[in-house]
Symmetry: C2
Subunit: 546 residues, 2 copies
């Protein structure tokens, strides 16, 4: 039997196209239910628009429109003022999975793998059979190009059903139109919330949004300054893996190990390269492609045992503690805010920065789990909270020391909103739908440190508040008994009751002053913070330049 | 600026190979930390061995060995007595992602997309730089083939470093050897637990396991009968999507709509096909490839409005309520068991069956969250519990009505183990790592129904237990007061005290009998269940046939 089976099995074996794969597994891309599908399409289109405008140094103006076509069908239109797409590339960008400009560059961006928008096109084709319609213009000198695009899934290739030139008033930009099966519902995890949170962490963007109820929402830009443009970098030696190093050694243009180390990595100067070679017991003039397996092992050990400075931060553009606090204030009305931005760190050779913030008290309910806002590269994450590294970092901490209640392994309970932002050249997500951050220990550790920093500020605030409250209570209780105490004293010592009362009141008022000082100091801190806020737009941003 | 940007962007745009994609995103495949990586490699190899032996109708004998190489490196060896792999296919099976026999067939199996084992090879290459070693033999007449295989990620192609014939005593089978970076730790989510649970739901397999501490564990087979071999089926019309239907219409060999419906779908006979055409207002002799977009819409409506019988169950091989209960009994020592197997249902045209079981009381702790065992196509799922459809189904139910305590949105608290098994032609997972089942409403609904069925049995048991307990308590309290009551009665009515006592005792003993009956009935149910159990191996399984 056996031989036949092996032969029979061999006949069935064949290649699976990546488009077929995702057609079957569309839940991997965020299309597992109708409501999420609607969000995913809007999200992928907006991410692309924000990336493209940022790349072109244009202040983004994005117009999102969702039209209810009835029978669970929706038309989604997203239009931007980005640089447009050259004609030849339009079919690939929208009609081919795993095609894009961002995968092979080490630079922070919202999009990554060139899957999102073509997957949306695939989903539209699957659920309504209608192609994607795109109109794009790259400059006033060129006419706009209009195309209708589908995907040949068996070969993962674009099918262009129609192509023509069109008049379009815009100077440059892209507008896409997709018909999909979806479901619209307000509230948590909705398109409305996604766009609102996107506006918070992208204060340089203007977003116009018409929802399926034909209500128009406008999120105007809060600043005319574009975020700093992140630079493209080379990998950092720390955390580079055996296989990647092997591949780099084989494909490098450098002729010696010494020049390979300085040219192909960031933060490795000639001195550091020499030290790595020494620690690896390898000659600096070895030919990279000729290193043997054990020699590569040595090289990895050598890197591990050499002190190399942290990767440069200019490949990442964090929101910044101040802007993050400002965003938090827009979102949550509370009495106390604390934020923290960590220094860049590395996971698997890839730099990242963690930022965190806490808003305490105010109008927030005190008897429920804290609210968690998650962002990765300025994109709000609305799904899969409990699978996210942020969740793991928070539930793994002891929040009781910061004055909140918490059962083991759960989110703490209290009137608190926590924000965590991961900015990275390559944020690792748990799925292509980019809903949750994967559990890399380096990332979780940084999240914890950032949150602990905020937590300490919070607990000192809570403790101060408690101390002031207690002192105040003691004083007012004591105040009530002054006449009685004075009366006893008169009976015992003959000291006049009125005089004693007078003295005691004086003592108390000193204490009250102290409390007042406490309170005022707190007010000043708050005022200062607010003043600082009005100025932050000048920092961490550059001038708009056409 | 704009035109230049578009051109510059276009220059950066290029294709990403699926191997490059997964090399960067290896956490998507279950390689996000060292401990999980060890489990994932063992799991992918064992899944393949179990699938191959089942396909070849061989009783599986699988030998798993993990050797600690020091410095967080491990050698994993998995050997089976399966049909082997023909020489020509070996490089593709292990050295090319998205290559396999299972993707294009509608049949229940553990593997799906042809990613798992080649991803393990990729991970080995990444972390230790060492190729996969495989030896395979398809029959006693052929020599065994030995190969060393790596992956050229840029082109997603196998690299064969060595190839030779070898002597191998086995008649047929495959043995692979991989060196990876990993970490070994016992307990939950460990290789040990995975193999134990695998043995529970695959009672026809013998698994020998040597862990890194050089301890040998043997899971002998509990039955010599192979599970029923699932048949390959055609898609069911319900839930087929517009895009898929469009593709099927374009590529079918049938000449008329009528024959297309009967030939290309399961459960559609000539009568049903006619009815569909009528409901769709389409002529049965329309040419499939010529249907227009609105006509396809009509056809979909027509399918929706026609009553079509559920898909055949023979494409799925569930564990069966009895075997599931038996497995549960092996795992958990408790006082009450209930299991339930639902009828086949369909999501997106794909048939599936849900099975569930509950074990209550016994040695289980009553003050903790219930324990949840999850399986998909007889494979234990150990990670991402809270992202799983099973979790959503359980937390969305009201368990208080079944006598357990539960806070909103959480797992219930109580001395309970819950098992859920999804058997399907294509189980939808939330990620390629196949850790959790995606949230399809149809699947969650079936899970809920199966669990409610078990829940009802549980609550009637708990209530009966409670009633018996209460009645017993009432009787024994009353019994203590009989002499006093009889004394009062004598004083009031003159009725002799001894006589009253006698009568009252008689009354009570009747009640006691009733309670005894209750208890005995329960014992009988239990005994019957146990007897039934001894016979079940004869059902739902066929004879072993070489």
């Amino acid at each position: 039997m056996s031989e036949l089976t092996a032969v029979k099995l061999a006949q069935q074996q064949r290649e699976v196209s990546v488009a077929e794969f995702f057609e079957r597994n569309r839940h991997l891309l965020g299309f597992d239910n109708k409501r999420k599908a609607l969000l995913t399409v809007v999200k992928e289109a907006c991410d692309n628009s924000l990336d493209a405008t940022e790349e072109a140094r244009v202040l983004p103006e994005i117009n999102v429109e969702i039209i209810d076509l009835g029978n669970d069908k929706f038309r989604i239109i997203v239009e931007d003022n980005g640089p447009g797409i050259v004609k030849k590339q339009i079919p690939n960008v929208f009609g081919k999975l795993l095609y894009g400009s961002k995968f092979h560059s080490m630079k922070m961006s919202r999009g990554q793998q060139g899957i999102g928008i073509s997957a949306s096109c695939l989903y539209a084709q699957l659920t309504t059979g209608r192609p994607l319609r795109v109109i794009s213009k790259i400059s006033p000198k060129h006419p706009a190009v209009y195309m209708e695009i589908g995907i040949d899934t068996k070969n993962n290739r674009a099918q262009v059903f129609k192509e023509e030139e069109k008049e379009w008033k815009k100077e440059h930009g892209t507008r896409i139109e997709l018909d999909i099966e979806g479901s619209y519902q307000k509230g948590e995890q909705s398109v409305d919330v996604y766009l609102k949170e996107t506006a918070i962490v992208n204060p340089h963007a203007t977003i116009l949004y018409t929802n399926p109820k034909a209500e128009q929402l406008i999120f105007p830009r809060a600043t005319d300054l574009l975020p700093v443009q992140p630079k493209e970098i080379k990998p950092h030696p720390y955390g580079v893996e055996h296989g990647i190093l092997m591949k780099m050694l084989q494909t490098t243009e450098s002729r010696t190990l010494q020049s390979f180390l300085t040219n192909d990595f960031s933060r490795v100067g000639p001195g550091t390269a020499k030290e790595i070679c020494q620690n690896a017991r390898l000659l600096p003039n070895s030919k990279p492609s000729e290193l043997t397996h054990p020699q590569i092992e040595q090289l990895m050990e050598g890197i591990k045992n050499t002190k190399i400075i942290a990767p440069p931060a200019d490949c990442i553009s964090p929101i910044g503690a101040e802007l993050l606090e400002k965003g938090l204030k827009k979102e949550v009305n509370s009495e106390f805010y604390a934020t923290s931005t960590r220094s860049p760190e590395v996971y698997r050779g890839i730099p990242f920065i963690i930022e965190a913030g806490i808003a305490y008290g105010g109008e927030q309910a005190g008897d429920q789990s804290i609210r968690l806002l998650r962002f990765a590269n300025r994109v709000p994450l609305l799904y899969q909270q409990s699978s996210c590294a942020t969740f793991k970092a928070i539930t793994g901490m002891n929040w009781r020391q910061y004055g909140l209640s918490q059962s083991q392994g759960a989110l703490p309970i209290g009137p608190v909103t926590v924000v965590v932002h991961l900015a990275s050249v390559w944020p690792p997500f748990t799925s292509e739908a980019k809903e949750a951050i994967a559990h890399y220990p380096e990332i979780i550790k940084e999240m914890r440190l950032a949150l602990q920093d905020c937590g300490r500020k919070l607990s000192s605030y809570i403790n101060k508040k408690k101390r002031v409250g207690e002192a105040q209570q003691r004083i007012s209780i004591f105040e009530n008994y002054i006449p009685e105490v004075a009366g006893f004293l008169e009976a015992l010592t003959g000291e006049k009751k009125e005089k004693t009362i007078e003295k005691m009141r004086q003592m108390l008022s000193k204490n009250k002053e102290l409390i007042q000082q406490y309170k005022e100091a707190h007010e000043v801190t708050k005022r200062e913070a607010e003043e600082k806020e009005d100025q932050i737009e000048l920092k961490g941003a550059i001038e708009y330049d056409e």
